[in-house]
């Protein structure tokens, strides 16, 4: 059983703080590292992968510091986000090179096993330069798995994959987690993380925003006040009816937009009540649009929560 420890880790580039005093513990099973683009997920993964020194704090794998410790790679498999991967090799040659670099006793057998695990045998003897993004991802995965590491780190592994490939990779990662490996992957898409990870760590603007199972994170995300922009043929009547309902916590006339800005505290009830209230008061709804559904605003809420 391998556990990654991140203790009070910060990382800055000049004046820019990429990771701000994060402490985490990542144990066996599948953990999702969720956050918007630029939140510091990659920086964090790079520190766990030993490719970046923390500016302060410690990143350790079972008490061994990872930075500048090549021996740590005997128990770490890394699937980097970068596309660079010796395109002049075939998939098999690429995985075999990884097996040899790890000093495995039977690199040929390990290569075959890893290629079978990611179901890439059919294209293994083609050059990587002709691979699709999903195929590249799987071969990178095979190379990361070839020495059967206890820890698997994946940086945005689902980027550029089609739905079928996505399902396959999820299945594979679930299996790895089920075997007791410590699997950590990053993503900026909640649905991906929710489908796969039993445990979620949320990173926003370099800070550790939330931690827990996906139900808890999901609740945090749906329980936040929702904002809508409404237009109707009688805004004032609609406003009066809405403010009387407990699901609504605030209303504002936006003269510039010629619309109502509504803040709902109970999302489900609001969604149910709005059409009924409109009908009862004979108001025609012209526009109903959520005004802050971007992931960034969801994350921003999480940080302040």
């Amino acid at each position: 059983m391998a556990t990654l420890h991140i203790d009070n880790v910060s990382r800055w580039y000049g004046n820019v703080v990429a990771v701000n005093d994060i402490s985490l513990e990542i144990g066996p099973g599948v953990t999702g590292l969720l956050g918007p683009n630029g939140a510091g997920k990659s920086t964090l993964i790079h520190m766990m992968a030993g490719f970046l020194a923390p500016s302060t704090g410690r990143v350790t794998l079972d008490d061994r510091v990872i930075w500048r410790n090549a021996e740590a790679y005997r128990s770490i498999g890394l699937v980097p986000e970068s596309e660079g991967m010796y395109d002049f090799l075939t998939g098999r040659e690429f995985v075999r090179a990884a097996a040899e670099l790890h000093g495995l006793p039977d690199p040929g057998a390990a290569t075959d096993r890893a290629l079978a695990t990611v179901e890439m045998e059919y294209a293994a003897d083609r050059r990587i330069s002709g691979y699709s993004k999903g195929m590249r991802q799987r071969v990178k995965m095979a190379a990361a798995l070839v020495h059967e590491p206890a820890v698997l780190l994946l940086d945005e592994p689902f980027n550029g994959m089609d739905p079928r490939q996505r399902m396959q990779l999820m299945e594979l990662l679930r299996r790895m987690g089920g075997e007791g490996r410590t699997v950590l992957f990053s993503s900026h898409i909640l649905e991906e993380v929710e489908q796969l990870a039993s445990h979620i760590e949320v990173i926003v603007a370099g800070r550790h925003a939330a931690s827990g199972d996906f139900r808890r994170i999901r609740r945090l995300m749906t329980d936040r006040p929702h904002r809508y922009l409404l237009r109707s043929d009688d805004d004032r009547t609609l406003a009066a009816a809405l403010i009387a309902d407990p699901s609504v916590s605030g209303i504002e006339f936006d003269a510039a937009e010629n619309a109502l800005r509504v803040q709902a505290s109970d999302f489900h009830r609001f969604a149910e009540r709005l059409p009924r209230l409109a009908r009862d008061h004979r108001v025609r709804l012209l526009t109903v649009s959520p005004s802050d559904e971007s992931l960034e605003s969801v994350f921003a809420y999480l940080v302040s929560a």
């Binding site: 997920k41 790079h46 970046l52 890394l78 980097p80 090179a97 390990a110």
Partner: protein, 255 residues
């Protein structure tokens, strides 16, 4: 699959292994890809063409041999091929991030550098030494050992250039440009013309060895043999050591 991390059967000995065949294979294949191989081949071919033309026009001529082998081969061709091979052995991998696949393994950083250095030196020698020897034979039939002297000088210079340009490839994203400027401006131009720069040029150091081999003072150098050899060794060692040091803390930045 089991969770236990595989332990290699015969673990690498405790000391740093200087050479890893897999690293060498990857480096060699990257270096000798079709396009790069053509670039590497262009200059030796040009050297042979020039040598043949001069031979046809003026016959066997010791002075022409020294001028071509020094002014073109040693001062320009060797450093240029050294730039392509030395930086090419590592810089493209760092640029496109594929170095991550090499670094995420227990192979020692010093082994990676030494292996890449050996490959870079080998490739530089391969594209310079035989063509210089052949050009020398064409120019004056190796009279006064001039062809052998320059071939040895090229081999020795390949070692120093390999180390310098490999180091440059590790520390700078503009390694090729810096390398070219160094090769063309410092080695080819200043190295031949400016007295101060001459004593600090790989070309002159390797010439000191050529001067010893060639007979009857056919080749001269601005530095003594002892100084030349000492500076070659010191430069190669320092560049290699620094490249190892920098690779150990190579940062692959995210986002």
């Amino acid at each position: 699959m089991s969770v236990t991390t595989q332990k290699p059967a015969g673990r690498a000995p405790a000391g740093p292994r200087p050479y890893h065949p897999t690293v060498a294979r990857l480096t060699r294949r990257a270096l000798l890809g079709r396009r790069r191989a053509l670039i590497l081949l262009a200059l030796p071919v040009l050297l042979l063409v020039i040598a043949a033309l001069i031979r046809i026009q003026t016959g066997v001529d010791d002075r022409a041999a020294v001028e071509i082998l020094n002014g073109f081969a040693l001062a320009a061709m060797v450093p240029l091929i050294g730039v392509v091979a030395g930086t090419g052995a590592i810089a493209p991998e760092i640029d496109d991030g594929s170095i991550a696949h090499l670094l995420a393994t227990p192979v020692r950083r010093s082994t990676i550098i030494l292996t890449k250095l050996i490959v870079a030196i080998g490739v530089t020698m391969l594209f310079t030494v035989p063509s210089i020897l052949l050009a020398g034979v064409l120019l004056n039939e190796n009279g006064r050992q001039i062809a052998v002297a320059f071939a040895v000088a090229a081999a020795v210079a390949s070692v120093a250039y390999g180390a310098i340009f490999l180091m440059l490839g590790v520390i700078s994203r503009n390694a090729v440009v810096i390398g070219l400027i160094y090769a063309l401006v410092w080695e080819a131009l200043f190295g031949q013309l400016v007295p101060g720069a001459q004593t600090l040029s790989v070309q002159q150091w390797s010439l000191s060895i050529a001067a010893r081999i060639a007979e009857g003072g056919a080749v001269t150098s601005e530095v003594t043999l002892g100084a030349g050899v000492a500076l070659l060794c010191a430069t190669t060692a320092a560049a290699t050591w620094y490249a190892m040091r920098r690779l150990r803390s190579l940062t692959i930045a995210g986002e």
